[in-house]
């Protein structure tokens, strides 16, 4: 009996629970019971299913959404709310029973549990997306590219203008000096490619800003190379860089004298800056002219010029009145004049040790042509000659000492090479007779060598 009494409340509870708790259960259990509420509820208008078949499920969904959004729920309200929900669902059920099941599956009422209903704001900002620049039909957006192309065009224009100016300068220089050159030299203008030694009579263009001219066929000199080194007018970058520091066009004249026509001395005169630079850079000046550049005022030259010399006697010999007169007259145009019998160019930076032999020395002369004859006449006296020879011997000795070890190695390798070549020759001989004879010859040579030692 007690169990019956216990069972009854539990049964009641069980009956009540579905009503109060899960909405999940509503779908499955309460179809018939709740149909009685359909008449009393607010959704009575939706009872008639057949007329508004399509509209109702959709209208039911927002109505379902409305009660679902209520977040703050009391327990008291819960039942009524759920009743309403049940009603709504019931209606929905009724509708969906007759309707396509897919309509209902579109909207799962449980999906939006606890979600706030999005308030339809009337102030949604309209976002207007900007069209990407390359799709706009305007050239203005490409202004950087237009700038670049303009820069390129400016560079090309400057290249053409600069090139033309340089070539006009070179032609003007050559025309004005042509007569003088032709009266002094038999061969004016040679690029080394012709079979015959015929004057081409024009400058050899090495670059857009460098022109060469080779003249040869004169007493006491082998030849003269004139280099017209203009400013790089064809390069816009260089033009802009030159606005920072001024540079001049240069004419470099390099005269190669015959051995017998020049005595042995090293001498240079020029602007102070040029002398300081050359003393560091030039091999012969750094070795033979150890003193700092002297001011030219002592010899009647302007203050701006300095002198580098091996011996005082040389200066006296070179700087006679005529020379002084010429140099003073053109002092602002002269950068440097360099006489040397040991000229080998600027110092070469050696990364892998010293060179194996002394660089080729030639008696050269950097200056204008009317001094060539002057130098020929210059003769050192005996003392000067001795000193000069001693200097040269000293330099050579130092150099030889430094390279002694290397030269030995080189000689050793050369000997080995020779021996190997000999052996190979013998081995490759096909005729056995000749082979035997060669071997005998080699043996004889060896014996002679041993005897000599």
């Amino acid at each position: 009996m007690k169990s019956v009494y216990l069972l009854a409340p539990t049964l009641l509870l069980l009956l009540a629970l579905p009503a109060s708790s899960g909405r999940y259960n509503d779908d499955f259990d309460d179809g018939e019971d709740l149909s009685d509420f359909a008449d009393d509820n607010d959704f009575a208008e939706f009872e008639d299913v057949s007329e508004d078949a399509t509209a109702e499920p959709e209208m039911a969904t927002p109505s379902r959404a409305a009660p679902h959004v209520q977040t703050a729920e009391d327990d008291e309200d819960e039942a009524t709310v759920e009743l309403e929900e049940e009603d709504g669902q019931d209606d929905g059920f009724e509708d969906s029973d007759t309707q396509d099941q897919d309509m209902y599956s579109k909207y799962d009422p449980d999906e939006f549990d606890g979600m706030e209903k999005p308030s339809p704001s009337l102030k949604d900002p309209l976002i207007i997306h900007t069209v990407p620049a390359h799709l706009q039909n305007s050239w203005e957006s490409y202004y950087m590219e237009i700038l670049m192309v303009t820069g390129l065009l400016a560079y090309i224009m400057n290249y053409i203008i600069g090139k033309n100016k340089n070539s006009r300068l070179a032609a003007a220089w050559f025309n004005s000096h042509r007569e003088l050159l032709e009266s002094n030299f038999a061969l004016v203008g040679d690029d080394g490619t012709n079979k015959d030694a015929v004057s081409t009579g024009k400058l050899n263009q090495e670059n857009e800003h460098i022109y060469n001219l080779w003249c040869s066929g004169r007493v006491c000199c082998e030849g003269m190379l004139i280099q017209l080194k203009f400013l790089k007018r064809q390069d816009l970058l260089n033009v802009l860089a030159r606005m920072m520091r001024p540079v001049c066009d240069q004419v470099q004249i390099k005269v190669t004298l015959n051995d017998e026509d020049m005595d042995t001395f090293v001498f240079a005169v020029g602007t102070r800056k040029a002398m300081a630079r050359m003393q560091k850079e030039m091999q012969d000046l750094s070795e033979f002219c150890s003193d700092k550049p002297k001011s030219g005022a002592k010899y009647g030259l302007p203050e701006t010029l300095a002198i580098l010399t091996e011996m005082g006697e040389v200066t006296d010999g070179v700087m006679d009145s005529k020379m002084v007169h010429y140099i003073t007259g053109h002092a602002d145009k002269i950068e440097s004049i360099h006489f040397s019998d040991q000229f080998s160019g600027p110092k070469v930076m050696q990364e892998d040790g010293q060179p194996l032999k002394l660089p080729e020395t030639k008696k050269t002369l950097f200056l204008t042509y009317h001094i060539i004859d002057k130098v020929k006449k210059l003769r050192l006296n005996r003392e000067g000659k001795l000193k000069a020879d001693k200097n040269r011997a000293r330099v050579e000795e130092n150099f030889l000492k430094q390279t002694h070890a290397q030269r030995q190695e080189a000689a050793q390798t050369r000997r080995e090479e020779k021996k190997r070549a000999e052996k190979e020759r013998i081995m490759s001989e096909e005729d056995p007779e000749r082979q035997r004879r060669l071997e005998e010859a080699q043996m004889k040579m060896k014996q002679i060598k041993v005897k000599a030692m």
Binding site: R218, V219, G223
Partner: protein, 106 residues
């Protein structure tokens, strides 16, 4: 030049032919600008192609132009043309892949 010009200082029998100075004797005298610019141009054009940077490609074009302007006449024109073509192709490829205009860095 006639041979009976012996009154002046000319001597026809003393003519010596021109020999272009070898560059291995004095490499320091040579102007390294065209070689540097060539190398820079190639590096920039590769950067522009790989990393899709438009400004790299434009700088490469400028570098190849500068290298051409400073080049010696004895230099190979093929090298110049190849670096020039490479830089132009870098610019074209950058714009084909991304037609948007270049944005200034400021």
């Amino acid at each position: 030049m006639s041979a009976n010009n012996m009154t002046g200082p000319q001597r026809v029998n003393k003519i010596i032919r021109y020999k272009p100075p070898t560059t291995e004797a004095n490499p320091t005298l040579e102007d390294p600008t065209p070689d540097y610019m060539n190398l820079l141009g190639m590096i920039f054009s590769m950067c522009g192609l790989m990393l899709k940077l438009k400004w790299c490609a434009w700088i490469a074009v400028y570098c190849s132009f500068i290298s051409f302007a400073n080049s010696r006449s004895s230099e190979d024109t093929k090298q110049m043309m190849s670096s020039f073509m490479l830089s132009i192709s870098a610019v074209v490829m950058s714009y084909l892949q991304n037609p948007q205009p270049m944005s200034p860095p400021w």
